[in-house]
Amino acid sequence: MKKSKVIIAAGIIGLSALGAMVANHIQQPSLPTFTTAYAQPQQVTLPDVVLGNNQQYTSTLFKDKWSLVFFGYASCPDVCPTELYNLNNVASIMTEAGKTMPQVVFISVDPQRDSNEMLTTYAQFYNDKFVGITGDTSEIDKLVASFGVIYQKTFLANNGQYVSVPYSSPIPEAQRESYLINHSSRLYLVNPEGQYVAAFAPPHSAKKIAEDLLKL
């Protein structure tokens, strides 16, 4: 009697686990097992924000194609160019393998200094298919929150120490053009439904990123 209850309980647990697996599978039909990318436990549906000069909605930007999203700024001399050159190497590997390279979207978190025109030529310098785009900080902040991106303005104060403040905070007049930005440097994978599904943590190797992208 007791034994049968245990069996029934085990059966229920087993069935619900199976159900969860099926549900999970239905939820993520197209996600392979990645080697280095961190798959999100669940796809994150991104807010539909407005970016670019044509007031483009991100739902349109991300629709029907895989995208790799990186947040940075054009006055960044080291990390962002390194990333964009690296992504161009990823594109070469994908092309050589006869696969479609996801759309690369470089989003500037620095609309005070970066215009959409300059970001377009900036991104295309690295690869003529790359997209460079920005928008109002209020819009960008909705997007970064979904990806878990953090960024802040940082500048050298008179005492020789770096001071970091939220991007929209007022800073000394002399620093208005020369501030730097601390920013997350993960690379995000967005699926053709416009959902954030996985992230690549730095340091980024073109070969390893391509390995995972080739599984898509």
Partner: protein
């Protein structure tokens, strides 16, 4: 005479991987120097190189200037609080008898306020001031990639083999 030898060395360096500069006072060599090409719309560029300190004592770089740029700074990229950060360095110390790398993601010279972004195949003259007051100049070619990235290219061939296996997934 000495000067012409140095000039020859500099000229050679532009066309080969030979030492870019050899000073007779402080025994320092700056090798594999390059300025990374940037989009014409960029506002900054970065210079990378290796410093060889053949002395038994450290060398301290205190200042840097670059032709065609209003301002140049010694910088260090790093990670802090989950973010990539960059901090200006007042000086950089090259330990005795070492090769010290200025490379992407680490130490670099940040070139600011360009009169015009330096294009591939152009050369940027970068001058370093040492703590003892000595100055050394290096002509750095502008490149999209350095030789190390070319090595990455050779790795790409290996990766192709891996990818063939992965198609079974």
């Amino acid at each position: 005479m000495q000067k012409s030898i140095i000039t020859t060395l500099i000229a050679t360096a532009i066309f080969s991987a030979a030492p870019t500069f050899a000073a007779d006072k402080t025994n320092i060599m700056i090798m594999d120097a390059w300025v990374r090409a940037a989009p014409p719309s960029a506002k900054v560029q970065a210079a990378f190189f290796n410093v060889m300190n053949h002395n038994n004592k450290p060398i301290v770089i205190t200042n840097v200037e670059a032709q065609g740029f209003g301002r140049s700074e010694l910088h260090l990229s790093g990670k802090k609080d989950g973010m990539m950060t960059m901090q200006k360095q007042q000086q950089v110390t090259i330990p005795a008898n070492t090769i010290f790398q200025f490379k992407p993601g680490g130490y670099h010279v940040m070139l600011l306020e360009p009169s015009k972004i330096a294009a591939p195949d152009e050369v940027v003259k970068v001058s370093f001031t040492l703590l003892n007051g000595e100055k050394i100049s290096v002509k750095m070619p502008v490149k999209r990639d350095n030789s190390k990235t070319k090595m990455d290219h050779s790795k790409m061939d290996h990766s192709k083999m891996d990818h063939a296996n992965m198609k079974h997934n």
